[in-house]
Amino acid sequence: MRNDSHKWDAPTDHRLPLIRDDLTIRPIALHRQTLLSGPINTCLQLANQPKATGWPDPAQSTAYALRLRRDRILSVNGPTLPDGWHPQGAAISDMTHGYACIEISGPRALPLLNQGTELDPATPSNSCMRLFHGWPCLIYQWQTDSFRLHINAPHSEALWKTLVPFS
């Protein structure tokens, strides 16, 4: 029963990018994010994707799928699918607003990511999900020298504040 408002800064405006010579951090508004769980081929087929990206393969196009688990993908900007159990045998949930997406690019992008986790392009992983500064995040290569990060939206304020001082 205590007023702790003074202990917490008001949320930062996450729409503003941070730009330096060798590093850019900017929020990305994705049109759609859909979680699909089930046999991997069923999920890929419903998401209309040939494969799902892990680490370190780049995602690159406007619509892509990310591999979270052996039986789960996140479809980005994929087809609209109804929430619930799909008759083809997959569980579907819309997460468009559940993950905040941040793009980190520039020569300092990979070193910045290496402040929050051990991330090595020479060590591949089937899943692009890992703990970053202690939070579960999707981290994947987007294009040359640029990476994308998805974090649970309620944590995005703390993540933004964590990245900014070291940039």
Binding site: R69, R70, S125, M129, R130, L131
Partner: protein, 88 residues
């Protein structure tokens, strides 16, 4: 900072993992009578071996629940196995 292997994700930082249980404990069928002693053994008794051990761990980012083989003396990680039987 140790590295543990997840059967799906490969080698990852130990902080991504959480111990779940000793491997090989089967839950008694509680639709049949289960003695106090058997239920207590299931709840509380652990083998706690010195040396090689098989444990159930969870890799929290991908939520894979799997078997991790470790050596409790040398800290060596001996390998991992998925729980699912259908994975080669």
């Amino acid at each position: 900072m140790q590295q543990f292997p997840c059967p799906f994700c490969g080698l990852r930082d130990e902080r991504e993992f959480h111990f779940a249980a000793e491997a090989g404990k089967i839950r008694p069928d509680t639709t049949q009578p289960v003695s106090d002693a058997d239920w207590a053994a299931y709840l509380h008794n652990r083998k706690n071996p010195k040396g090689e051990t098989r444990e159930v761990w969870i890799h929290t980012p991908c939520a894979e629940v799997f078997i991790l083989k470790r050596d409790t003396l040398s800290m060596a990680v001996l390998g991992c196995e998925p729980l699912r039987k259908d994975i080669p």
